[in-house]
């Protein structure tokens, strides 16, 4: 909890800096209005997310197995966890997954958005096509991917073999390639959504800014680097927080395509939480892993948030 509290102090400072002194006398009424606006959301969050989360924290200090009443075990779960090779394996797999998928998805989304911001025949179709994976159930579409990628009877490997490329034992069962394969599906799934967010951002950039930069003799890359990119910082913050959290919580396609295998090479922390909690009935231990994951994600996002907050531009 100490880590949470220290981190909490960062944004309020920013908020305080923006406070306008002459308006202070109205602040009391404003505060009441603000809390009224927040009430419905906070009530729902408190009851159905915060309370279960606190409850999970309590359970992480017990040997709860979902069936028998929980017995207090103190920090045993956490002590065990840090000496558990399965935890460290899942931890580094998660880091690996997030370190690749987050930047690749964001970069690709930006490139696609810039590309699709231009006029060309069939643009609406291409946009729709790139967005479509996002709205398809990952559980179902992962079955399609597994079918396509099957090294012996899959369509993709068959097409590749027709042009002379041998697919070997298949990416999903290959210890080296299983992770890149599930990463690929993760990127494929989400890139469209982030692209749309960037597109919205691009379309809201006033044309005259570009025009001005062009008159100053800036080339396309300079205009992108110095005009477009800074003005997209809001979108970048949003997209990067989303992408980071999504990749640190990767589960669905891994569950369907590899189930964490071969020999745990694709087991992420959420997969491990699921396995410990629901398969081995060690819910207390699973809850402890969840909390470690939560604190880890939180710290990362705070760093990321703080970093991008400094670069944010308002207009």
């Amino acid at each position: 909890m100490t880590t949470l509290q220290t981190a909490q102090t960062a944004p309020p400072q920013a908020a305080a800096a923006r406070t306008d002194a002459p308006r202070r006398h109205r602040s009391h009424r404003k505060a009441i209005t603000a809390w009224l606006f927040l009430t419905p959301a906070l009530l729902v969050l408190a009851a159905f997310t915060l309370y279960p989360m606190v409850q999970a924290a309590y359970l992480s200090l017990t040997n709860y197995n979902l069936i028998r009443a929980a017995e207090w075990v103190g920090l045993d779960n956490y002590v065990e966890l840090f000496g558990d090779p399965a935890f460290w394996n899942a931890f580094w797999n998660t880091v690996y997954y997030a370190a690749v998928v987050t930047p690749v998805t964001i970069g690709l989304a930006l490139v696609l958005a810039v590309f699709l911001d231009r006029q060309f025949a069939g643009r609406a179709f291409v946009r729709t096509a790139i967005f479509l994976p996002f709205i398809v159930s990952l559980g179902i579409i992962a079955i399609a991917w597994a079918f396509l990628l099957d090294p012996n009877i899959g369509l993709l490997s068959y097409w590749l073999s027709q042009v002379g490329i041998v697919s070997g034992q298949g990416v999903l069962s290959d210890p080296q390639w299983a992770m890149p394969a599930v990463m690929f599906v993760g990127v494929w799934k989400n890139v469209g959504f982030y692209m749309v967010i960037y597109l919205a951002g691009l379309q809201s950039i006033p044309e005259d800014l570009h025009e001005a930069a062009r008159l100053d003799g800036a080339n396309a890359w300079q205009r992108f680097r110095n005009v477009t990119l800074p003005l997209l910082s809001n979108q970048t913050l949003l997209v990067s927080v989303m992408a980071l959290i999504a990749s640190l919580q990767a589960f669905d396609q891994i569950y369907v395509m590899t189930h964490g295998g071969p020999f745990f090479r694709t087991e992420t922390l959420v997969m491990l939480i699921y396995r410990e909690g629901f398969q081995e009935l060690r819910f207390g231990y699973g809850a402890a892993i969840s909390w470690v994951l939560l604190i880890f994600v939180f710290l990362l996002s705070m760093i990321q948030y703080g970093y991008s907050q400094r670069r944010q531009v308002r207009y």
Partner: protein
């Protein structure tokens, strides 16, 4: 669910209340929660034979087995008017989770079907009650049931389940591929050595790119009905000893079997590496594998695909010829009162009656749980083949009565096997290490 734990339960509730009060914004939640404890009274301990009972029956017979199961349930409901069984079919994965959430929430089903290999884990945690008295009632004709099916649900000296089905594994072999390889389509391999001799003919790499277009066998190593463990049995080895106390993974027989098969698959390309059960089925179904050892559920798909296949007992190892029996059992949660339990017994008895088993076997293609109805099953030839006495008598359930069975298979055996097949060490090293882990699980 556990009346004897009620004081613990109350303490947990109180702890929770403290937590709620502590949470800054959870005041509203605690308001909602007060006065809502103690719901769901557990009934009396005596049986009321006249009470109308509705039994919630959770099971995972999704896919084509679902309609057959519902047929038997409907027949039972029509056969009397006191008890109504409501079948709730969901995927097995979901069922295992839902049973747990329902257990955590103290409300749930009256009958749960689950794989006999998963049952001990839940029984060990006190989720189910022993039902040995079911087998003592002569009216239920339990003597007619196959031993393997009944003993599969034993845990700690008590029986926690009644069989839903018993599926044995047989060797499917593609006769056309045998003929094409110049082998006698009526003479499938009967021993490991015969099979090994056929591998060079049945594994075909026509274009010489190093990746065969056809494999001798499809052996799945994860997400599957266990295909490798019976090979260990047939060399005199196994995963754990019969009494369930000692790991046998590093025994001479086990290591002999594993060395033999890892060599065949890895070096002689007898089977692709890294197949899941569904991949192995697809491989055989597309005519890209000559042999698969699997249960009766594939007959429909293979026939629809127009495969010309034969069925035979799987080849014998150096010391045995045992096949795997996959058993699903029905269990009664601890929370069920006596009336519910007795009503469940009525349903169990109907399910395993001649009538029930005939309908089930005809509809699903699974062999009946009792041998004496084989001759009544005329609509479907396969239940009799898979339920033949010499097949059933030579079948064995994997890791019966071992609470850590699922953990051992999924987190120790399968990963170790995949490591060996991918050449990440020698079989002896990998499985000696895995054996220690199995022992540690057993000692827990």
């Amino acid at each position: 669910m556990h009346t004897h734990h009620s004081s613990d339960r109350r303490r947990t509730q109180r702890l929770r209340s403290v937590l709620i009060a502590g949470g800054a914004m959870a005041a509203a939640a605690s308001l909602l929660l007060t006065g809502c404890t103690g719901a769901g009274a557990s009934g009396g301990s005596t049986n009321d034979p006249d009470a109308k009972v509705t039994l919630e029956f959770w099971n995972g017979f999704t896919g084509p087995d679902g309609p057959a199961l519902e047929q038997v349930v409907d027949d039972f409901n029509a056969s009397q008017d006191r008890i109504t069984v409501k079948a709730n079919i969901m995927p097995w994965d979901t069922l295992y989770q839902k049973v747990l959430t329902a257990a955590a929430g103290k409300n749930g089903p009256d009958i749960v079907a689950m794989s006999a290999s998963r049952l001990p884990q839940y029984a060990a945690e006190g989720l189910f009650q022993p039902i040995d008295d079911y087998y003592e009632n002569p009216d239920f004709e339990s003597d007619a049931l196959a031993d393997a099916a009944v003993s599969a649900s034993m845990f700690d000296g008590e029986n926690y389940g009644v069989p839903v089905n018993l599926a044995t594994m047989l060797m499917y072999y593609n006769m056309d591929l045998f003929t094409a390889a110049g082998l006698d389509p009526e003479a499938p391999p009967t021993t490991w050595d015969e099979f090994a001799a056929m591998v060079p003919k049945l594994t075909v790499d026509e274009n010489g790119d190093g990746k065969p277009e056809q494999y001798a066998i499809a052996l799945a190593d994860h997400e599957t009905v266990p295909m490798y463990p019976p090979l260990l049995w047939n060399a005199g080895g196994g995963i754990v000893s019969e009494d369930g106390t000692t790991s046998e993974l590093d025994s001479e027989g086990s290591l002999e079997a594993l060395n033999f098969w890892v060599d065949l698959v890895k070096n002689k390309q007898a089977s692709p590496i890294g197949l899941a059960g569904a991949d192995a089925d697809k491989l055989f179904q597309t005519g890209k594998a000559a042999i698969e050892i699997v249960g009766p559920w594939m007959t429909t798909g293979f026939n629809d695909a127009g495969l010309n296949f034969g069925l035979a007992p799987a080849f014998a190892g150096p010391s045995d010829q045992i096949t795997l029996a996959d058993v699903v059992s029905m269990a009664v949660p601890t929370s069920a009162d006596e009336t519910t339990k007795q009503a469940a017994y009525e349903f169990f008895a109907y399910w395993n009656s001649k009538e029930g088993q005939t309908t089930w076997a005809e509809g699903s293609g699974f062999p009946p749980t009792r041998a004496d109805v084989s001759s009544d099953i005329t609509g479907n030839p396969y239940p009799a083949v898979f339920g033949a006495p010499d097949v059933v008598d030579n079948s064995r359930v994997l890791l019966p009565g071992i609470a850590a069975g699922g953990t051992i298979m999924e987190t120790i055996f399968n990963p170790a096997l995949q490591k060996a097949l991918n050449g990440k060490g020698t079989v002896d090293d990998i499985f000696t290490e895995a054996s220690k882990q199995v022992q540690a699980e057993l000692d827990k």
